[in-house]
Symmetry: C2
Subunit: 104 residues, 2 copies
């Protein structure tokens, strides 16, 4: 799916790590929430509340998932899940475009 229709978007960007990561919050008619975000090369640690599905639309990174000691390489077209109430770290190698779905 290349577009999301019939959504509400919050105008103001979510900004992290001095702009190294920025995203927009989308709300869907069914109440679910996603963010569309962009990451420049760098290393970033995030904390989750709900479990998340991170879909990498374009780019290249490595992710260290919670409870894991193995860095996982992820490229455009691939995705990974992150448990809720956990931390994960990404080493962004190429500027990366992502869609994050918050799973209830």
């Amino acid at each position: 799916m290349s577009e999301f229709a019939n959504i509400t978007i919050v105008k103001k960007a979510n900004v992290y790590f001095d702009g190294g990561v920025s995203s927009r919050t989308l709300r869907f008619p069914d109440g679910s929430v996603k963010t569309l975000g962009f990451m420049l090369p760098g290393e970033y640690t995030f904390s989750t509340q709900d479990p998340e599905l991170m879909e990498i639309i374009d780019g290249e990174l490595e992710v260290l998932l919670p409870e894991s000691e193995q860095w996982l390489k992820v490229q455009g077209g691939e995705s990974f899940n992150v448990a809720g109430n956990a931390k994960f770290t990404m080493k962004v190698i190429k500027p990366s475009d992502y869609c994050c779905s918050f799973l209830k």
Copy 2:
């Protein structure tokens, strides 16, 4: 207005200057188009087709508008218009969040 409702968003980011500028395209029910974008510090020259209204949601930059020799300082909450079929240059001083409206 802090949100846009009932819109269609293109999932894939528009990426310029190696990610120094990235944006998302929003289509509105009346057919109009806007982008919500984010710029990291740097100097960027863009070309317009339609005239544009650039609303700076947050951040700080200077803009050199077409036919002008005077850099204009623009901060969050302020906006500027750019003529169609023209070039303009922005010196982004602080990471800046913007909304660009394409005017028919």
